[in-house]
């Protein structure tokens, strides 16, 4: 036998190995069989391994050519094994699934639920953050001054009737009765913040308020608001409309229907009230919206010059707008809850829905 003949034989052997390996790989029906095939060819004493070792016995000038072929065969076998492995794994995973009833319900993690008020509140904070408003937090035990007087509501002003107040017991103190109250509105924070900071200001104040109010489906003696105010030079009424529109659509959906109306709060002029289409009845009229089809959601207005003066701003230089979102009401409107009292009811059958 002459050397060239031997080389050709070697090539045949390699191709033969490749063919039988591929056949066996593709015929293997499970991962175990595939592993055996792998050993048979690529293992320490596998057929391909031995064949490759034999290349060293070839004349030196023939070795690169055969060596290249051997590498190609090896690569093809390895790739085919990987492909087959993947195929078999999928097959086995499907088989395992077939062994169980996948339509049975999943096992729920034992985690709790975040209150709907919190979920909406965090959305509110987020939306305002996007337009540069920063959140603040202030006291619920408040003075008559910040709750009313600084807001252009002096003592004996008839507007106080619209916010019946809960007064705190001042016995055994030097405080005049009636001076310390539970705040009736988060607007009480306007004076506190403005006194301590200069414009420009973009602030929101989420918080709890208290009123002497008979409890029903749409009123509570404790309720949540998000106060907001914006003070700068050149603030326009159209900015107020634009901000309310932007915020409520972000919170309640782009299709939210709003309308504005004139109203009076002594600390704004012009005064604005915002009504949102009642989500409970879709304007048909229900007990929640007092049959009107609309729900009052966001009273607002341009900050009254008397308020700006009271906190030491020059009303000829600065102007601003303020608003208060009825947060409790916004929550009930978003989830179509027909009673505000559901929000303070700790029944897990309610909480688990959120």
């Amino acid at each position: 036998m002459t050397p060239p003949r031997w080389t050709e034989l070697m090539e045949e052997v390699l191709i033969g190995i490749k063919n039988s390996a591929l056949t066996l790989i593709l015929e293997s029906e499970d991962l175990k069989a595939l592993e055996e095939v792998k050993l048979q060819f690529l293992g320490r004493s596998g057929r391909l391994t031995i064949a490759i070792k034999n290349i060293a016995k070839l004349p030196i000038q023939k070795r690169p050519e055969v060596g290249q072929l051997a590498n190609e065969v090896k690569k093809t076998i390895e790739e085919t094994i990987t492909e087959q492995e993947l195929k078999l794994k999928n097959l086995e995973s499907n088989k395992r699934k077939e062994q169980i009833d996948i339509t049975a319900p999943g096992i729920k993690p034992r985690i709790g639920h975040l209150h709907p008020m919190t979920q909406v509140l965090y959305d509110v904070v987020d939306v305002f953050k996007g337009i540069g408003f920063q959140p603040c937090d202030g006291p619920e035990i408040e003075t008559d001054y910040y709750n009313f007087e600084v807001l252009n509501i002096p003592k004996n002003h008839p507007a106080r009737d619209t916010q019946q107040t809960l007064y705190l017991d001042t016995r055994n103190t030097k405080i005049t009765p009636g001076e310390i109250i539970l705040r009736t509105q988060t607007s009480a924070m306007q004076g506190r913040v403005m006194e301590k900071a200069n414009p420009p200001l973009r602030v929101i104040v989420p918080g709890k308020n208290f009123r002497y109010e008979q409890v029903d489906a749409s009123h509570g003696f404790e309720f949540w608001q998000v106060e907001g105010f914006f003070v700068d030079t050149h603030v326009r009424l159209t900015d107020l409309f634009g901000t309310i529109d932007y915020v409520l659509k972000k919170l309640m959906g782009e299709k939210t229907k709003l309308k504005f109306a004139t109203t009076n709060f002594p600390f704004v002029e012009p005064g604005v009230d915002t009504y949102m289409e009642c989500s409970v009845c879709k304007r048909k009229g229900c007990s929640f919206c007092k049959q009107s089809g609309w729900s009052e959601i966001m009273p607002a207005g341009m900050i009254h010059p008397n308020v700006l003066k009271a906190v030491g701003y020059d009303p000829n230089k600065f102007s601003g707008f303020a608003f208060a979102i009825g947060l409790s009401r916004l929550v009930t409107l978003r989830y179509q809850m027909d009673d505000l009292r559901l929000l303070t009811n700790p029944d897990l059958r309610i909480l688990e829905q959120f």
């Binding site: 209150h115 035990i141 705190l168 030079t233 504005f260 109306a261 002029e269």
Partner: protein
């Protein structure tokens, strides 16, 4: 305030349908609460804002409608005939600090009888009960023109004299509806020669009221000081249609015209005759006032330029007689619009009639503030804490800040140590909670019927202090569980605080209660400690060695102390935990690791010996065989 469409139509032509009219009125500030069809009439029910006393009258509402419809109202003028004989007279002693104006007249020889049907019907439609012609006329004119009236039985005014003064306080007074009140100091009263005959601005007196036998009357309209009326009305918890108008400020120039209207109705409906001059005691002539508004200010605040013609139209139909120059709008304010005082008020008038819903919407321009404002609160840490508790199986609740004395007592707290509300909505909600515990216990019980595993939490305020001058309020993180162990809760909270970047130890804040575990942590204070400054340490290059050591120890010895003692023995001990315990046998899981090299068994054995030696000396432990 109720207003029948038929009555409104007497003064203004209305083209809008009731529904559209209601919507438009709401838009311009006259909140339409109800529109009720009643026979062939329609009754509107309006919510009147505190700044608009003029809208507590049919004519005032008609004026608003006229402004919307761009038309003028129709109002008859009346004159009072000069008396043929001044048969009656009164001596009026006023106090201008109490009555800015006092307008009245005596009418003789009236016949008391029911009012005609048209008048009775109108009163019924606005929610009043017809009584007799004189009383009905006073009510009718008040509802028509917004000027409160009162009629006295002239013959009951002792000494034919009336004096206006402040009550000293404590005087007893019986009103026309036969209720007796003890008057607060400062109430405005009218006395005749002997007695109090009127609680001015609120209710007339029984002793001088109109009866079936009344022959002669004194009919008056007054302009009362709003603050006096409001204080008295609040002190007595007695409100009337008149006091509602006075509190907001009655039209000071309206009394004479209204008296002319009322007197004419009296003559027409009772057969009486004028028997005195017109009394009209006043501090000054109450005249319209002017406000000027720069046009550029108007457009700057509104954000749009409203065409000049439109501005003039709006102000004209609001009866504000505008004069406009290149730069300035000047308006003249009728006395019934005492809400219009400053430029911004006029801006609102123009904006509301232009229609808020016709404005474009813009986003604010200008610099976004970069510094945190005072009272800034980051919601991030709170949100993460809440998410953590939710992940730990707790559901969030919001409960009331106000609780009852019984709630306090159930926790062994004396109500003297809690802040009290003077005028609670009910005894159930009288005190500010110094803890959320009672609320959470109640919440747990409420859920027992439907759930076995109940885990609830709240982050909310508590209010501490005995008296309001020492009150302190802060947020607590409070929770309750009926199925988690003390250690599970401790572990959860510990991990939460670690994640939030503080080494706060919640052990002392967790209580074992009858129904499970309760915890309450001063969240405001622990927030301040949250640094959120975590420093990464590289993954160890060398493996750790772990071993379990079981000891026998007196059960009084605290596990925390043993762990501390073990840790103290070598810096190579990186973690110690309790793996298992049964009675006095406890197994600790100890991990040793060196940052720079592999630890040898010999090195670990040395540390272990040291541990055991110190535990023996300190706590007298024995090694378990």
């Amino acid at each position: 305030m109720k207003a029948p469409l038929s009555w409104l139509k007497k003064y203004v032509d209305i083209t809008l349908s009731p529904k559209t009219l209601g919507e438009r009125l709401t838009e311009v500030g006259l909140g339409t609460e109800k529109i009720i069809k009643e026979g062939d009439d329609t009754i509107f029910e309006f919510e009147i804002t505190p700044n608009r006393p003029d809208l507590l009258s049919i004519i005032g509402i008609a004026r608003e409608i006229a402004a919307l419809e761009k038309t003028k109202i129709k109002l008859n003028e009346y004159t009072i005939p000069t008396p043929k004989k001044k048969s009656l007279s009164l001596k009026l002693k006023t106090d201008y600090a109490l009555f800015y104006r006092w307008t009245g007249i005596c009418i003789a020889n009236i016949i008391i009888k029911p009012s005609p049907k048209w008048l009775e019907e109108r009163l019924i439609k606005v929610g009043l009960r017809p009584i007799n012609n004189i009383i009905d006329i006073t009510n009718y004119v008040m509802f028509e023109l917004g000027i409160p009236f009162h009629a006295f039985d002239y013959d009951q005014i002792k000494g034919a004299e009336m004096t206006v003064l402040e009550a000293k306080g404590g005087e007893s007074f019986t009103t026309v509806d036969e209720k007796t009140y003890y008057l607060p100091k400062g109430a405005i009263i009218i006395k005749d020669k002997e007695r109090i005959i009127d609680l001015a601005g609120i209710k007339g007196g029984l002793n001088s009221g109109i009866t079936q036998n009344t022959k002669n009357i004194f009919l008056h309209a007054t302009v009362d000081d709003p603050i006096h009326i409001r204080k008295t009305s609040q002190a007595l918890a007695l409100r009337s249609d008149a006091s509602a108008i006075y509190e907001r400020g009655v039209d000071k120039d309206g009394t004479l015209k209204a008296l002319e209207r009322a007197a004419n109705l009296v003559l027409e409906l009772t057969g009486g005759e004028i028997a005195s001059e017109i009394y009209d005691l006043k501090t000054e002539d109450f005249k319209p006032w002017k406000i000027t508004l720069p046009i550029n200010k108007l457009s700057m605040i509104l954000g749009i330029k409203i065409p000049e013609k439109e501005i003039i139209d709006i102000l004209t139909y609001l009866n504000l007689s505008p004069k406009i120059t290149k730069w300035i709008i000047e308006v003249t304010i009728p006395t019934y619009r005492n809400d219009l005082k400053i430029q911004e008020d006029i801006i609102e008038e123009i904006a509301r009639l232009y229609g808020y819903n016709n404005f474009p919407k813009t986003m604010p321009i200008g610099e976004v503030p970069t510094k945190n404002p005072p009272y800034f609160k980051s919601y991030k840490l709170e949100e993460r804490a809440k998410q953590f508790l939710v992940a730990g199986g707790f559901s969030e609740v919001y409960t009331y800040s106000l609780i009852s004395e019984a709630d306090l007592n159930s926790l062994g707290i004396d109500s003297i140590n809690a802040i009290r509300v003077d005028n609670p909505v009910s005894r159930e909600y009288e005190y500010l909670r110094p803890t959320i515990k009672s609320n959470l216990i109640k919440a747990l019980y409420q859920n027992k019927a439907n759930f076995n595993e109940i885990n609830l939490f709240e982050i909310g305020k508590v209010y501490k202090g005995k008296t309001v001058d020492k009150a302190e309020e802060y947020y607590v993180l409070s929770g309750i569980s009926n199925n988690k162990t003390f250690y599970e809760v401790k572990g959860l909270l510990g991990r939460m605080f670690a994640d939030l970047g503080t080494d706060y130890d919640p052990t002392e804040n967790i209580e074992i209660i009858e129904d499970g575990v309760f915890f309450e942590i001063n969240f405001s204070a622990s927030l301040e400690k949250m640094q959120n400054k975590k420093v990464f340490s590289p993954i160890p290059k060398y493996p750790s060695i772990t071993e379990d050591v079981t000891i026998i120890v007196n059960q009084k010895v605290k596990i925390g102390d043993i762990i501390q003692e073990i840790k103290k023995q070598s810096p190579l001990i990186i973690d110690v935990s309790l793996l298992d315990q049964f009675e006095d046998s406890k197994t600790f899981h100890i991990i040793y690791q060196h940052k720079e090299k592999n630890l040898t068994d010999e090195e670990v054995a040395k540390i272990r010996e040291k541990i055991i030696k110190s535990l023996k000396e300190k706590f007298g432990v024995k090694l378990k065989e």
